[in-house]
Amino acid sequence: LSALSTPMLPSRASSDVVSPSPIPLALALLAVLLAARVAFVWRRGRSRRPAGDPPLRTLVVLGSGGHTAEMLVLLRALPPEAYAPLLYTMAASDTTSAAKVAAFDAERARRCGSKALLPSEMLRVPRSREVGQSYVTSVATTLRALIASLLLVWRARPDLLLCNGPGTCVPLCAAAWSLRLAGVKHVEVAFVESFCRVESLSLSGRILMAAARLGLCQHFLVQW
């Protein structure tokens, strides 16, 4: 009877040494791998060829009206062999850009002559907001544009994203940044403010400027 008055301590010392829980170890390993991947992608940004070796997969953001015309002036100056394929990305409701782009792309291919270029692609995204659309419905359409942009960029995996300010460019740039932040791919983002902005930046320009300060937009150019 006197033996039962002492509480029996459970004997666990031996099990602690023999089999530790595998979950914390696996998590630690995963964290190390992720950190290594992110560090690798981060360092990539500082290398001599931050976008990788040419030819660079280039996602070109086109917009209505003058934006497309201006972008084509920029593209015409780029050596076709270094920037290919060109992934021309425009709003689903944009009817005028496609014809201009097709003509430009045909001319670009002709300029290359016998040298085969990786074939260009035409990609579409829904617009965040149409002109005159109510602000209430704009929330839903902006969300839709953001998701569509994420899917497009994650599928396309460009080396370089080139834009000059139409509304479609912000969700696409955000998608490019998400690729970098997730450590999946380093995308160089280049923004050229529109020729018509003489005194002040466009809204897209101000957003991209803020992103530039965070290192998310690496090249920010103005024309005046």
């Binding site: 009206g65 934006h67 015309a69 201006e70 050596p79 014809a99 020729f195 018509c196």
Partner: protein, 170 residues
């Protein structure tokens, strides 16, 4: 030989300009200055109401869109454009004098910055729908001193990007 005055509003709606262009005063002035026809590209704007009593002194044609306005712009003796950068740049590539009408009915009108800067530099004449008649009156004098616009040259851009990305400028 025909001297066409061609006006474009790009993809926008610019009824104030269209109304000013088909007005008696402006069409009369165009006729006096020897233009044989007024051709309007009206984009998303309202159909122009052509005056009937009396009818305009020169024929007025209009349409909404074409795949390319290049042919109409290159064959024009006078270009009138809205202040969109694309239209302005297309207009500057043509030899005809360019009049740019700024839409002062718009809220955020950053477009006027470009029109005024290029007017200041002597490449075009910036005006508004209300100022259109006066600008057209002064045109014969000012047109002589308009400077052609140098071709868009993005080689600086290509050089910068090529160096920054380590891929060369071609």
């Amino acid at each position: 030989s025909s001297r066409v005055c061609f006006a474009t509003v790009g993809t926008t709606q610019f009824d104030a300009l269209t109304r000013a262009l088909v007005s008696h005063e402006v069409t009369g002035l165009l006729a006096r200055h020897g233009y044989s026809c007024l051709r309007l590209q009206i984009g998303r704007g309202s159909e122009p109401v052509l005056p009937s009593d009396p009818p305009p002194p020169i024929p007025i044609e209009w349409y909404r869109f074409k795949d390319s306005l290049e042919a109409d712009m290159r064959s024009a003796a006078l270009l009138i454009s809205h202040a969109g950068a694309g239209s302005i740049m297309e207009g500057l590539r043509c030899t005809a004098p360019l009049l740019v009408a700024v839409n002062d009915g718009l809220m955020d009108n950053h477009q006027q910055e470009l029109a005024h800067e290029l007017d200041r530099r002597g490449h075009l004449i910036a005006t508004t729908p209300r100022g259109l008649y006066a600008a057209l009156e002064a045109l014969p004098v000012r047109a002589a001193s308009l400077e052609p616009w140098p071709e868009g040259d993005a080689t600086e851009f290509a050089r910068y990007l090529g160096a920054a990305l380590g891929v060369g400028a071609g």
